[in-house]
Each structure stands twice: as C-alpha cells, then as structure tokens.
Assembly symmetry: C2
Homo-oligomer: 236 residues x 2
DNA sequence: AAGTGGTCTAGACCACCGT
DNA sequence: CGGTGGTCTAGACCACTTC
C-alpha cells in the first residue's frame, strides 16, 4: 500500500486550500459525501480530515461540518539554547560565582516567592574561541535536599540544571528577548570597550503546576549572536 | 459519552511519562496488549497513541513498537508581528519612501536574484504614542502586474503586503533576531540622542517553492520592545 | 426528523521486524 | 515464523445543529 487513500484526501484538500480554491471560512464536503467521492469508508475519510486538522488547515464543529481555518502566518518556532546559536557556539564556560542569596523585591516577585526565601544565584561567563561572548545569571529556588555540584553546573543549560528537580516533560518555559546597552560591570566582564549592544534573553522555567522554579538572564554581545526562527504554518 | 476511552489511555500514558515512570527510549505495551488492558478495540487504542504521538510524547517504529521520545525542552513558539509586541503597539506609521531600486550584491544574494532585477524598497517609521519606536525597511521582488498602492502599504505587516501575490498558507517565513548599536541615520530617524541599543528583526518570506519573495528589516528601539516566546513541549 | 461530526467495534490484509 | 504497527471496512450508537 504505497499511496494510502487518506493521504490522497489530505493532499487534494490541502492543495485546494493553498491554491485559494477553498478560502478561510468555507465549508468542506461532509464526511459521508467524501466517502462516496473517494469511494472509501468513513474512518478513512476521518483519518485524512484529522491530519488536515492537526496541520491547522481545517477545524470541525460537531453537528455542522468542517471549515477552512485562517492561516497563522506569524507564528514562529525558535530553538533556543544558551550554549548554541546561529553564529557562535559556547566552547568554554567560566563559573564566576555560586551564592545563596535573599532575593530583592523584583526577583521575589518574578519567582513568586517571599523575600525571605533563599535563592541560588549562579553567575557564568560564556566563551567562544577565547573571547567572552555572554554573561549569564541564573536564579534557582533553593532546596535543601539538592546539593549544588559545581562541576555539573558549569556546562549545563538552564533546563539541564533543573532536570533533577522536575521532569523535563512538564517544563513550561518562557522566553523574553530584548536589546540593551551594557552596564559598566557587564562591559568589563565581556571585554567591551567601544559601543556594543547586548541581546538579553530572559528565560523563566515553570513546573507542571505553573509555579516558577527559576529565572535565567543571559547577556549576549550583540555582535556574537543571532537568533533564528522558522514559521510554523501547522497546528493550532 | 463524556469520558472517551482513548482520552483515558492518553492521560494514563502521559502521566507515566511525565512522572518518570516511563523514560525516554522505553517501549510501550503493544497495541494488542493495550486493547486487553483497556478492554477496547484496536482502533480506539490507536486513536489514543496517535494523539500522544502528535503531542510529541511517543513515536512508533513499524514492526517494532512504540517508544517514549526525548522531550524537546528548548523549542519555543513566538508570535511575531512587527506592529504588535509585548510593550508597545504601533499606533501610527509614516511612509518614508517607496522606490524601485537595483539591489546591491548582498541584497541580490539574499533574495537569490541577479543584480539587474528590480526590487521595491519600502521605508517606514513606526510610532507609539507619538514617539518613533522603529525604522522598517522592506524589499520586495518587483513585479510589473502588481501596482504599488501606498495606502495599502502604509499599515500593512509584511505577510499582508505579499498576500496578493501568494497564498498565506504557502508562506515559509524566517526570522533572524539580533542586537546592534544604531547608525547615525537610524539615530536621527528614531530620535535617539543617548546610547540606545537596537533590536533588529530580519524577516524573510519564501513562496511555496522556497524562492525568496521579500526581505524585511525592522530596527526597534531596544527600550520599546520585548519579544515573548513560550515553550512548545505539548502542542496547542 | 434529517444531517452532521465524535466514538467505537470486530474483523481484515499488508509490510516490516525479530528469531 | 509470530509479533508489531499501518491501512481499511461496514457497520453501530451518540450528541449536536438545523429545519
């Protein structure tokens, strides 16, 4: 069976949609009429329609029918990993400090804890080809049971750091990206003498109950990083 | 039928995976053994497994079985629209110029055309609450048939601009994000006097054949924009 | 009441994988 | 070869929408 019937249905309808023969809001033929059109059973037709639905081309309303969805042309997928990016990869890291601190008001608010709860602060520098390219600060909720192993921390990405606390499957992760001019301290750390913009990536991790478990801020030298995203077109 | 059987299967297996009872690489019970476990038919079991597969929890190998996938904890979804972002929305635009130009080497390479092909260049300023917040430049392949209507261009996002040339469904869209210090010309346009970093977003649109049809570069004042992304782990 | 999609069944044949 | 997943059928009942 090289050409499944459902695949043919998917292809035909998808073509009609992307060629404009079927426009957003239009209704599709009913399942039963597609059955007779393709001379197949209802389950096969449904398999095809469910694929189109997963791909974001159509949706269904019980009792009414299938309809063409509006395309979502401004959704992008980014693969972000503070150690790897479009231009340079991090080939060396330097652990600047690991401290247990009391959060200031802003940090406590961000992690949704009170100001007397302890927080682990990890400061690192990322190098590429001998040059410091990013200054990285992570804040993790302090937990007695989990010892801080400096060796493990040194080369870990943020999700890796917390992987011994929560399943990576349950991770709800949030990114905020913006540009900033560096402060004096950051300039020193990153060997910036002239004018260089920073690309700042704030990464916030939540557990399965949507409680924050960590905040990471990475200050990349603007000339050392480009983030790359691709449009999604499918799903949702 | 309030609690479909397949939904129960999905929930059970998903829980086992995110609780760590099932680890990446582990194999699931076969379809037939799940049939007897849930006392249901094979098609119902398959419906559940296909949902877990779509959600990225498992995958199948014909002839072998189903296996638990590694989680993809560093995939993010961004909704990018040059007119709307986390801090400020564009409430006014100003069309600076619309020109038909010959591309320089870099632009020609980026659009994969030869240097004697004409290109439409559109320059705009984006305002929020009276202040210029971004400088925007678009390059579109010049086509004789499609007239340039300034009114239409003025408030259009990039995909909207090309929506009369290609179906928005076929759009393959690519983003590149980086930080830069502004050049003198940009400083003037954006009323920047002190030190302000720019967040630059390059947007490249491809048609269904993966041929570039346009390049857009938006220079946002770093203090006026934050991009926001959410992890993808489970779909939708 | 008639038509729609949502769920489910109990079979079937196929291609692929291992032993 | 037996076990696995991939495709497909011809029915069934349900809940919902529309008339």
């Amino acid at each position: 069976m090289k050409n499944p019937i459902y695949a043919e249905i998917v292809q035909n309808i998808r073509n009609k949609i992307s060629s404009g023969q079927l426009k957003p809001g239009d209704d599709l033929p009913s399942e039963t009429s597609l059955c007779s059109e393709y001379n197949t059973s209802r389950m096969t037709v449904r398999k095809g329609l469910s694929i189109l639905s997963n791909e974001g081309y159509i949706y269904s309303i019980p009792g009414k029918g299938y309809f063409v969805k509006k395309p979502n042309y401004n959704k992008y997928i980014f693969v972000y990993d503070e150690m790897n990016n479009l231009i340079n990869n991090v080939d060396k890291t330097k652990l600047l400090s690991v401290d247990i601190i009391l959060p200031d008001e802003k940090l406590a608010g961000s992690l949704r804890i009170s100001e007397n709860k302890k927080v682990v602060m990890i400061r690192r520098l990322f190098y590429t080809e001998g040059e410091p390219m990013a200054y990285d600060v992570k804040y993790l909720l302090y937990k007695k049971g989990t010892p801080i192993v400096e060796n493990e921390i040194e080369n870990a990405t943020f999700p890796e750091m917390i992987s011994n606390r929560t399943s990576l499957y349950d991770l709800n992760n949030e990114l905020i990206i913006y540009a900033k001019t560096p402060e004096e301290e950051t300039k020193k750390l990153l060997h910036i003498y002239g004018e260089v913009a920073l690309l700042v990536v704030e990464q916030k991790l939540y557990d399965s109950g949507n409680k924050p478990i960590g905040l990471g801020i990475t200050y990349f030298r603007g000339d050392y990083i480009k983030l790359h995203g691709v449009s999604k077109s499918s799903n949702c």
